[in-house]
Amino acid sequence: MTTKAQTMAGAADKAASGTSSFNLSLGWWITRISLALIVIAWTIPTFGLFISSLRDKDQLAITGWWTALQTSVGTEQGRTGEADAQVETNGQYVLTGSIFGEGSTKSIRTYGGGFLPSSGTVEYGQGEQPGIRDYAPGELVTLEDGSTFVLESNGTYTYTSPTPFDFDRGRRFFMETQIPPTFTLANYQEIFRAESVDQSFINTFTVVIPATIIPIAIAAFASYAFTWMEFPGRRFLFYIVVALIVVPLQMALIPLLRLYNTVGLSKGYPGIWLAHTGFGLPLAIYLLRNYIGSLPRELIESAKIDGASHFQIFTRLVLPLSVPALASFAIFQFLWVWNDLLVALVFLGKTPDQIVLTSKLRELLGSRADNWEILTSSAFVSIIVPVLVFFALQRYFVRGLLAGSVKGG
């Protein structure tokens, strides 16, 4: 009896563990697959931007970035040179040249239509030009007036006629071109040369560095006082600091703009440094106070007994110990100032020597809305520094986030 009961129990156990391991492995797969899908969805936008910024601008305009490794095919029109360029040799008039510009990587698959005689027998797809498939590169085409035309796949052509050419504009035809996958830094050269994005890059740094260092120093002193020193109103003043953390910047802009206009601080770097300092201080004081307040009380007390003044305790003991917290806030402020658009728009000018990357990018979105090669490469320049800082110092950033929101969580 006993053995039977035990066997039954054992079997039941086995069955139970069987289903649970099935559940477990199903859950195991669901977990992994859904997480992988989320990660892909989250990274693809940035990845697409990066790939696009490295693509040839002609390809970028006609094909999706996910086809970057394929040869892309496009339809375009070609035009010969003008009649002025003709040369007479042995009684023949010859016009030569290249359809493509210098350094082009395009090649021609088929061509026809326009001034070339059309066979009219081929069916063409939607949106294609009639005649575009009539001729292959290298084929000699004879026109009705006895002239001949040859187009090589690299775009060079020879147009020969027994009589002089006398057309005004170059003669037109259509061609199907293909572009091999190419990656290039030309877009970056373009934005540095023509859009002076490099200058904006320097401007952003000019804003960011002082606007990060100044608030840290001021907040460090203040948060030490709020933690370890006694003064009337300490608690009340700190409540105000906590309240100020969430005040929307919009609330501060108009009076400051008016004030700056009267004292002459507007449209200049000192004005924006001070503004960012003021706006960053509440969070800085709050974060640093959390950290400095967590230092052991005995440490401060014993230093006091040894005769150290608060100033000495702060500069020689607390400040060096607070480096991790200072780093946390520094990253916060760095990212916030680097990525800020609103404060820059209000307090800085839009002249080349003042416009920062975010502001520049916004301007390009308006003026070069269809030039994705400009937009993608400029955007990449503007995000690369914060992203690198972020990955390099993520640990400190996370620590700051946690201290700032869920204290003691």
């Binding site: 108009i254 509440p282 990018l361």
Partner: protein, 337 residues
């Protein structure tokens, strides 16, 4: 080059001035109220009390002055200016507010802002929580979290360019270069100019902010989940609860505090959102929001300070409940210390 130099000078001068201020004032304080010998040269008259009552103010004064100048004073001034005309020199009473409740753009902004407030904090927080739970069970979870967290480092304008590229529209028949339309057409659908479809375009703008904020929610949730005792979860499993029940009945109640913090933080971000709307649509096709409208009025027609201030005040009023809640939470935490 010249600019880099002037930047360096500014840093040196700025930091130098700060060092000089803090060290200088402390030195002066120590000298001015130095301990003195008494007349009979036996006792030392300590003046430490005086020194230590002044010193805290040296530490906090620069910070307090900056806060006063850059936040407290302007906030009060903005509130007052909201009752004045465009140039800010004539009192008009509630006129700006009356104008607003009859203004189509304003009403549209309020509607859109409510939509943003309902959707973005909820979706970001929920997604962040789900990802945090999933990532804790996978060996490559840290890497996954890093990648999802990364958009936090990207500016709203940068993100706008990234997503504008995704929403890019080409007329039917042309190859789509935007991911979304390429997907739609490959599934046999019609390409759409997503950003110009009223109502839905709001959602497409919100996706950008969700993309940025989910990482923030995830990091906080992940830390909070680590605080849920393993024994509690184990006990629930032994009692026969499945993973879904554990998630809703054990994990969520345990981290409800963090969920609220994340929710309110994202709510404030949403109220201030401006860059995304400015860069993507500038309020066209019914996508206007308060913060963008405020920026617009600040400069429109030479700048209407009255209406701009009124709009800022409306945003502030929406923030005040969260501000009070924050202070209460802070006081409760202080009481526990």
């Amino acid at each position: 080059m010249q600019q880099i130099l002037s930047g360096v000078y500014a840093i040196i001068i700025g930091v130098g001035a700060m060092v000089l201020f803090y060290f200088g004032t402390n030195w002066v304080l120590d000298k001015a109220f130095a301990d003195e010998m008494t007349a009979d040269r036996r006792m030392i008259k300590s003046r430490e009390k005086i020194r230590e009552s002044i010193r805290p103010w040296i530490f906090v004064l620069p910070a307090l002055l900056l806060l006063l100048l850059y936040l407290v004073y302007p906030a009060i001034q903005t509130f007052i200016l909201s009752f004045f005309n465009a140039t800010g020199n004539e009192f008009v009473g509630l006129h700006n507010y009356e104008w607003a409740i009859n203004d189509g753009e304003f009403l549209q902004s309020i509607g859109n802002n409510i939509l943003w407030l309902l959707i973005v904090p909820f979706v970001s927080t929920a997604l962040g929580l789900v990802i945090a739970v999933l990532a804790d069970r996978v060996r490559w979870g840290t890497l996954a979290k890093s990648m999802i967290f990364m958009p936090m480092a990207i500016s709203f304008v940068g993100a706008s360019v990234i997503w504008k590229f995704i929403y890019d529209y080409r007329p039917e028949g042309q190859a789509q270069i935007g991911v979304l339309n390429a997907l739609v057409t490959s599934l046999g659908g019609q390409p759409q100019a997503w950003l110009t479809i009223p109502f839905w375009n709001n959602i497409f703008l919100m996706i950008i902010l969700i993309w940025i904020q989910t990482g923030f929610a995830m990091v906080l949730m992940s830390a909070a989940l680590r605080g849920v005792p393993e024994e509690t979860l184990e006990a629930a499993r032994i009692d026969g609860a499945n993973e879904v029940q554990i998630f809703f009945n054990i994990m969520i109640p345990q981290i409800i505090g963090t969920i609220l913090v994340v929710w309110t933080t994202i709510t404030i971000v949403v109220l201030k959102v401006f860059d995304i709307v400015l860069a993507m649509t500038n309020g066209q096709w019914d996508t206007e929001v308060l913060a963008n409208l405020m920026y617009d009025w600040m400069f429109r027609g030479g700048g209407d300070f009255g209406r701009g201030s009124m709009l800022a005040t409306v945003i502030m009023i929406a923030v005040i409940p969260i501000m009070i809640w924050n202070i209460r939470r802070f006081r409760a935490e202080e009481a526990q210390r």
